[in-house]
Amino acid sequence: MSEVWDLRLYVAGETPKSVAALANLKTFCEAHLAGRYKIEVIDLVEHPGLARIDQILAIPTLVRRRPSPVRKIIGDLSNTERVFKGLELIR
């Protein structure tokens, strides 16, 4: 599986959980998806309209756009186990 993981993280400016989620995500990807991921950070404070694309309700939310199907993980990604499960990543 050499497919690149397309991840999108929705944040709200620099709220503590947004900052924490981005940091947790980077750490996770470097550990388990090194060299085959890209992260797009969308700040909904600046572009609230973009929430509609992925029907975002709570922030922070991580969306796995690829590989399909689309999956969401809500929260600050502090629980690594839940991130594994949410991304359906096989260790």
């Binding site: 959980k17 947004s18 609230p48 929430a51 309700l57 709570a58 922030i59 809500i74 929260g75």
Partner: protein, 566 residues
């Protein structure tokens, strides 16, 4: 199989979508509850808007999650919408097991009706409160206080908020308090019992003591009878001492051990104790008794009879527990450096010793080493408890040490070295009344004594003795007889009266006699508590003597009264 029914296929897809939406909703709730989310996107008419959760909200949420109390939101049908960590902790169930279950299921069946009434009142009146018992997942019963309050969520939806307070600890403390009260009451009852018991035990000893000590002095009796009499007297004295110990113990446990202090030569006290306890043993060659008292001044401000009681106890124990050929060593030394200087007196023996597990308990009442020891040596084991209390009352201490069984024991008593009164207020009047050696040589003045005593043997023995000392004695056995005798008598000097009389109390009698004839009096009582003495003084008695009556003390009291009358 591959030719699947299109309707089924559609339904399956729909279920999948519904499931994923449900999962997403649950995930969102979980993330909010666990504080992993701090902003929400709200759809408004003019488009999406982002609301970030301000610090205050986070604080409240954290507070609710972390608080010791449980909080639960209930739906109209009594199901749990949400419970916090505190509640989960109280009932020992994870939150996901609690959500959507009926709160009532956790209430013990006997309290279901009660619980329902709280719920009903909560919904109808907006708030209610009460206590029930819950059952935790591990089966423990948890008393809780429930406080209900309705909360409107808008759009006609309401929940019932319940704050759950665990009362386990509180109930435990309440129970402890109750049992402590009971224990205190039992203790008072025990003290009362001991006081009454010692009174009952003392009374019959009085006539025996009186007659025996008189007979002992009778030169007409042959030596072997004298010896037997001495033995009888010693044993009666021992009996009296055991009874005194019981009475002392009740004083100690009530914190009422009073001292009558005076300038005391501790060296004399120690030597006297050695003479009484050890002379026989040494003479019989059974033990070596070594006395090594420091050359320093041994003057202390103390209650001499109480201190001799301590050394008597320590030496008697040492002698009792040391086998033939052993050594009992009593030494004293001055300890300087701490303020004030301390005089230490040590009694060391080469006896059976004390095992380390027993050592910490030897100062507790009724303990006497191992059971086996108690059987071999008899006695109640009150001496050490009393001795320690006496030393502590003097501002000193009593400690014990032993290398173990068979290694001997060392007891060290310490007392502040101070010839001066430590506290001047201490019962100066009473210490003046202590059995006086100062007037021992004074010639007896003949008195006319009204002796009121309903115990015939005691009355007879005392009347005989008092007559022998040159007094004129009129005996009465009741209040009525005493008043009649007083009215008839030409000249009465003093009334000596028992307090418990068949037709009234000695106190009433004393008040009457003092009012009618201006008589002075001496009370005789089996009770020697401070309150008893106080009561006698209030009734007009000049002296209060405790049974068994030591004839020398009675004579001294009579002399003092005679002197005061002159």
């Amino acid at each position: 199989m591959s030719t699947a029914d299109p309707i089924t296929e559609n339904l399956t897809a729909e279920v999948k979508i519904l499931r994923s939406r449900l999962w997403e909703a649950e995930e969102t709730l979980r993330a909010i509850r666990e504080g992993e989310v701090d902003a929400l996107v709200i759809n408004e008419r003019r488009g999406e808007k982002v609301y970030t959760l301000k610090g205050a909200d986070r604080t409240y949420r954290l507070m609710i999650e972390e608080m010791q109390q449980g909080t639960v939101s209930l739906t109209a049908d009594g199901r749990i919408l949400y419970g916090n960590t505190g509640f989960s902790r109280i009932v020992k169930l994870p939150l996901d097991r609690l959500t959507h279950s009926l709160l009532q299921q956790l209430v013990i069946p006997e309290h279901h009706a009660l619980f329902e009434s709280f719920l009903r009142r909560g919904w109808t009146e907006g708030r209610s409160q009460g206590e029930v018992i819950l059952v935790a997942a591990d089966g423990t019963r948890i008393p809780v206080s429930l406080s209900f309050k309705t909360l409107s969520l808008g759009e006609g939806v309401s929940t019932l908020q319940v704050v759950v307070t665990d009362l386990t600890e509180q109930k435990r403390i309440e129970e402890l308090l109750v049992s402590e009260d009971l224990a205190r009451a039992a203790n008072i009852a025990k003290d009362q019992f001991l006081a009454t018991l010692s009174h009952e035990l003392r009374t019959p000893l009085t006539p025996v003591m009186a007659v025996v000590s008189e007979l002992e002095r009778d030169p007409r009796l042959p030596a072997d009878i004298q010896e037997s009499l001495a033995m009888v007297r010693r044993n009666v004295e021992l009996e009296a001492r055991l009874i005194d110990d019981l009475l002392d113990l009740t004083r100690i446990s009530r914190g009422k051990l009073e001292l009558e202090r005076g300038t005391t030569d501790l060296r004399e006290v120690i030597r006297h104790a050695v003479r009484t306890c050890c002379t026989q043993e040494t003479a019989a060659g059974r033990l070596h008794v070594v006395e090594e008292l420091a050359a320093a001044d041994h003057t202390v401000w103390a209650d001499a009879p109480r201190l001799s009681q301590v050394f008597w106890n320590l030496l008697t124990n040492a002698v009792k527990f040391t086998p033939d050929g052993g050594t009992v060593r009593i030494r004293s030394w001055m300890e300087t450096g701490s303020e004030p200087d301390t005089l230490a007196v040590q009694v060391a023996d080469t006896g059976i010793g004390i095992s380390p597990d027993v050592l910490p308990q030897i100062f507790s009442a009724f303990d006497q080493g191992e059971r086996g020891t108690a059987r071999r040596f008899g006695g109640l084991g009150l001496g050490l408890t009393i001795s320690r209390a006496i030393m502590e009352r003097h501002g000193g201490s009593l400690t014990a040490a032993s290398e173990g069984s068979g290694q001997g024991a060392v007891f060290t008593a310490r007392i502040p070295f101070s010839a001066e009164p430590v506290r001047l207020a201490e019962t100066a009047a009473d210490s003046a009344a202590a059995p006086g050696e100062e007037d021992a040589g004074e010639p007896e003045r003949s008195l006319h004594i009204l002796l009121v005593e309903d115990h015939a043997d005691t009355a007879h023995a005392m009347a005989t003795l008092l007559s022998a000392f040159g007094h004129q004695v009129t005996v009465a056995a009741s209040v009525a007889e005493a008043l009649a005798a007083a009215a008839q008598a030409e000249s009465l000097d003093v009334v000596v009266s028992d307090l418990g009389l068949p037709d009234g109390t000695g106190h009433d009698l004393m008040r009457e006699l003092a009012a009618r004839h201006g008589l002075r009096g001496i009370a005789l009582s089996g009770y020697g508590m401070e309150a008893d003495i106080q009561k006698s003084h209030e009734a007009g008695f000049a002296k209060h003597l405790t049974k068994p009556i030591d004839i020398a003390v009675l004579r001294s009291a009579l002399r003092q009264i005679a002197r005061a009358e002159r």
